[in-house]
Symmetry: C2
Subunit: 228 residues, 2 copies
DNA sequence: ACATATTTTTAGATTTGTCTAAATTTTTAT
DNA sequence: ATAAAAATTTAGACAAATCTAAAAATATGT
């Protein structure tokens, strides 16, 4: 049987960033992502997105239907997973090996994710002992593009009272992450929801021995995993 | 006293590559490097070099005299040293931490040297315990731009008989490095020159207990340091 | 259904970095 | 010193990625 020729198509940094954004907006196969949504996410103009959509469609990385939207092809999804893998592995590297804090890593990883060397990223993976999650709790695709999605729910959606282990953040802004540091809320911590304030949906929670009151905005940006 | 405002000017990858090349061709201050020399080194056209020379002169990174040549300004030298520092530190990282061979690192370092994060490269420096030399024996500039040049001479220039420790390579091509590996010639090895063949300037040398015959082409690409 | 609002695309311009071909300057050789 | 050769610059073009303004298509509301 003939080994499938994997054409290593060279992508520019801009092309890679579009592919990644489309993936994150849910463009994996099924749904069509709108030009406007992509433009907003990438802080660029819709007309630029249209131009790039044509270019990526040419390269068979996206399906593009004029006036309808954009989705990733199989090759596009593979590409996206490869970039996301690199991004998240570099984030782990920065935290575990270079003592970066979890609010510092994203910006640098945005650059490192574009380094072209399969050997490099595979060695980084091995050096880190094949981590499954990045510092924000997001899953790291494997070399083969396998992508395990852990079941998790927002802290705001927990039954009351009940508890779960903090496994991720939805908002990954430095501001939010620093807030969590200041309040000693970290991945791995067990969080018990004690009460919900009907007036503003704020929660009274318990972490270890500490009891604290957190706003709904915090609760809707923290992921927990229940024992169930 | 007012602290000098160090304007972090953003340079593109192309601009950085030009600066680095000019440095390597000897454009640190004194001599003017020709358009043609830069073009040849960078595998581009002289007219492209002229265009870039104007741009870099605008940014005060090079002195450019029409029809005369190009040299680096103080700021240009500082920039060059910063890029070379990154390149060489990444090469050490790849060899020491990721088990790359010395013939594999250059290509990847060419990409990594453009990552913009002072914290990143300083942490890499610390992780490696502040190495002074890269895998090819080339000195690594410090964070402050200090650049110690070790005195060394080509193996071909050694008196006969005499000996020295192998401290570097002039040719860093994968072909040459692999040849050295195959013949078990590595940095740190003591090499004794026993005889020079007048016919072709080849050398009979001794490394440990091994005696071997090497061509003049090899001898003019190996640096040694004598006890003197 | 049809007018209005919104979204998306097109047309044309701009910046960066490159090229080729032609013009200009400098160097070399007689 | 002057002609020929070599090096360098200029002029004009192109691809990539972006933008603005205008046109076209789609969606929305009554
Ligand atoms: Mn990130
Ligand atoms: Mn992350
Ligand atoms: Mn190198
Ligand atoms: Mn090197």
């Amino acid at each position: 049987m003939a080994a499938r020729q994997l054409t290593i198509i060279f992508l520019t940094r801009a092309e890679e960033n579009y592919i990644k954004t489309i993936f994150h907006l849910g463009g994996n196969k099924s749904q069509l992502i709108s030009t406007n949504a992509i433009a907003e996410q990438m802080e660029t103009k819709p007309s630029s997105v249209t131009d790039m959509a044509k270019k990526l469609a040419e390269k068979k990385l996206v399906n593009y239907i004029r006036y309808q939207g954009i989705s990733l092809t199989g090759a596009g999804i593979k590409t996206a997973l490869s970039i996301i893998r690199k991004h998240r592995l570099w984030e782990v590297f920065l935290v575990k090996k270079l003592d970066f804090t979890w609010d510092e890593v994203h910006e640098v990883a945005e650059q490192l994710e574009h380094i072209k060397s399969e050997k490099l990223i595979d060695r980084i993976d091995a050096l880190l002992d094949y981590p499954k999650y990045d510092p924000h709790g997001d899953p790291i695709p494997t070399k083969n593009g396998e992508f395990l999605v852990r079941d998790k729910q927002l802290l705001s959606e927990l039954a009351i009272p009940s508890s779960g282990v903090c496994v991720g953040v939805k908002d990954t802004s430095a501001a939010f992450l620093k807030f969590l540091d200041k309040n000693q809320i970290a991945l791995g911590h067990e969080i018990t929801v004690m009460e919900k304030e009907v007036f503003d949906d704020s929660l009274k929670i318990k972490i270890g021995e500490r009891v604290l009151q957190i706003s709904n905005q915090i609760a809707t940006n923290l992921y927990v995993k229940t024992e169930s």
